[in-house]
């Protein structure tokens, strides 16, 4: 009897052993139409993609309105304004990790595809920052601005506008639930006149410790 018990125990263990082989990791390509994953602890593509799309679309829409002082080329069409996208400043409560360079490229690419602006290559901007040893946030000082634009101009890239992007957030807490409002602001400054334009987009997101948190806090019948 004891032997049978022992053998059955051993066979159970053997069966468990064979079925418990170490697994592999799998990957799949996500179709462009598929929805993004929603980050459980911090913002991800589900927040940043719409933020960029909306902010850049607003910027381009406003800048495409023709004005009297808009320079016109020989073909009668408005000349594209050269824009120097300095960078993104993250002032939000979260570390955006590897998203920062992705956001830069997203904004830069969308501006490049527009008919309103001609962006300056990021490599040229980086080289000018390296050469002048200026901090991006110090470029609005008139002397710094002159020096920086002169370096770019010397490299064959005259500048009409500086573009800064800033990511900010605001956090509201209610017991174990948190709402975080993410805002992407684009600031466009005319280096010739000093005039500036500012546009922003916002995405709000809720974080909850339980699956019922969303229903409990955002129930339309509750308020």
């Amino acid at each position: 009897m004891l032997r049978r018990e022992w053998l059955s125990g051993l066979s159970l263990l053997a069966a468990a052993g064979f079925s418990g082989c170490r697994g592999y990791q799998y990957g799949h390509v996500i179709k462009p139409s598929a929805e993004n994953l929603v980050g459980s602890h911090e913002a991800g593509a589900e927040v940043f993609d719409p933020l960029v799309d909306e902010a850049v679309a607003k910027l381009l829409a406003r800048q495409q309105i023709p004005t009297e002082d808009c320079p016109v080329g020989q073909d009668g069409l408005p000349i594209k304004k050269t824009i120097c996208f300095i960078g993104i400043e993250n002032k939000s409560a979260e570390d955006i990790g590897d998203f920062k360079d992705k956001l830069y490229n997203q904004i830069d690419s969308q501006i490049l595809e527009s008919n309103s602006f001609q962006p300056i290559s990021r490599r040229m901007v980086d080289a000018a920052l390296h050469e002048t040893r200026m901090r991006p946030d110090a470029l609005m000082v008139p002397d710094n601005m002159r020096l920086f634009t002169a370096v770019l101009q010397r490299g064959g890239a005259p500048v009409d506008y500086f573009l800064y992007a800033t990511l900010t957030s605001g956090t509201t807490k209610r017991n174990s639930s948190t709402q975080r409002d993410y805002e992407l602001t684009l600031e466009l400054t005319n280096v010739h006149t000093g005039q500036y334009d500012k546009l922003s987009s916002e995405v709000r997101k809720g974080y909850h410790k339980s699956a019922m948190g969303k229903i409990w806090n955002y129930n339309p019948l509750k308020r």
């Binding site: 032997r3 125990g9 993250n90 002048t132 901090r135």
Partner: protein, 453 residues
């Protein structure tokens, strides 16, 4: 159908077969531990005989399949200090991926290890080793092309968060022992600062590092610089001296009396694998423990062109990280050893009962086999043996061009060994990285530089 009861002869044959199986398993795995196998290559390393150490490690990697990953980690350190950073990065990447894969438990290996010892399991790495692999990956990358260095610095934080979450979910305890390494944040800040653009990222990361090391003045200077200043003045570059100091943690076998927490976990394991019960008391069992040798060096003094710059500052206390994270998981290791002891004893008892003979001689023979079986069990002392006790850093801004760099081991701020010298090339607006290791009062290898003249 009538089933005949097994005869005494059949029972005896079964018991003999069982003992043969046990003896075979014991003879295959033996009682040699990794700490014994690695002892000679390690002593060669600390004697500065890098080539002999490399040969010993390569031989061990070929001969012992279960040791291969940890030996590769040791070889990566030898590569890095020998100026072969690219090869070091490749080795570290392989082990990182393998340890990640091994995080998924294998029931087969776990089961076999219950009849042998933990050395039969594939070694999945201690938590501190998984974090340090990513630190060393960043360092290796910086020493040759730096392409992936930033990704590795992000992986340091990611891995730390994963390990903390896993610890909380498995133990249900607060992760007070899982404190991130400041060097992870620092290296990311250092790389973001070097872009001359992402000062906001540098501020955030230096702040995180500074909050973990509140008394570290160099971190406060770095923080002040990125808040108001720039990476370097025009015509200047920066030298980062990474000094590995002291001899780091490794594992040895110790006899341990199980704690009540460990017995509780062991009871769960034993109940899960068979019809066994945990006895109320357990004799001491063999488990691995972390030891860190004393060191007569506490920092490294840096001179550039014969001008004294200052001592390096600690950014990664590996001793503390290893002790704390290992201690947090120690109960599980003890519990496995207790469960193994119980299962082995139960197997011998089952074999004796099966034979049906209660005569003294057979019983004594079986007991001797049982004692021998338990005696051959050894603690799993596999670990990354060639780690420093501390990783320290010093940043110095110098004019672009070639410079002579001197490093000297310090104890309480006073030199305790000969000066090591090397030449470094500094490029305008860029970082140059230096790596050296002072396990005691003398450097074990040459000083390696990411950009030597």
């Amino acid at each position: 159908m009538i089933r005949c009861a097994p005869s005494t002869h059949q029972k005896s044959k079964f018991a003999v077969r069982l003992l043969v199986v046990i003896a075979s398993v014991v003879s295959i795995f033996g009682c040699s531990t990794h700490s014994k196998r690695i002892a000679i290559p390690r002593s060669l390393f600390y004697d500065g005989q890098m080539q002999a150490c490399r040969e010993g490690l390569e031989k061990l990697a070929k001969s012992s399949r279960h040791d291969r990953d940890v030996v590769n980690l040791d070889l990566a350190v030898v590569d890095l200090l020998g100026g072969q950073a690219k090869q070091a990065e490749a080795r570290l990447r392989d082990v990182r991926d393998r340890f990640d894969q091994l995080e998924q438990p294998s029931v087969a290996e776990n089961t076999v290890s219950m009849w042998t010892d933990d050395q039969t399991r594939s070694y999945a790495g201690e938590d501190y080793e998984k974090i340090l692999i990513r630190v060393m990956l960043s360092l290796s990358s910086l020493m040759h092309d730096g392409i992936d260095a930033e990704s590795y610095t992000l992986q340091i934080q990611d891995k730390h968060e994963q390990l903390t979450e896993r610890f909380v979910s498995t133990s249900g305890k607060e992760p007070t022992d899982y404190v991130p390494l400041p060097i992870g944040f620092y290296m990311r800040g250092m790389l973001r600062e070097a872009t001359h653009r992402d000062y906001d990222d540098a501020i955030r990361n230096y702040q995180a590092a500074s909050s973990l090391l509140p008394g570290c003045d160099p971190l406060l200077w770095d923080l002040a610089r990125v808040q108001k200043g720039v990476h370097s003045q025009p015509g200047h570059g920066v030298v980062y001296v990474f000094a590995m100091v002291g001899r780091g943690p490794y594992k040895v076998e110790v006899a341990e009396r199980p704690t009540s927490d460990a017995l509780l976990i062991a009871d769960r394991i034993v109940s899960a694998v068979g019809p066994y019960k945990l006895p109320p008391t357990i004799a001491p069992i063999k488990i691995p423990d972390i030891v860190v040798p004393d060191s007569d060096v506490d920092s490294v003094g840096v001179q550039i062109n014969a001008q004294r710059i200052g001592p390096t500052a600690s950014l990664a206390n590996i001793e503390e990280l290893a002790r704390k994270t290992y201690q947090a998981n120690r109960n599980s290791i003890v519990a496995r050893a207790v469960a193994r002891r119980v299962i082995k004893k139960a197997t011998i008892v089952a074999a004796k009962d099966t034979m049906g003979k209660k005569d003294g001689l057979t019983s004594l023979g079986m007991d001797i086999v049982g004692v021998a079986w338990e005696a051959t069990e050894a603690a799993d002392t596999r670990c990354w043996g060639l780690l420093p006790r501390d990783i320290q850093l010093l940043r110095v801004e110098v004019p672009a061009g070639d410079h002579v760099l001197n490093l000297s081991p310090l104890a309480n701020g006073r030199p305790v060994g000969p000066i090591q010298q090397t030449k470094v090339r500094v490029n305008d607006g860029q970082n140059t990285y230096i790596v050296s290791w002072f396990p005691d009062s003398r450097c074990v290898s040459q000083i390696t530089c990411s950009d030597a003249p």
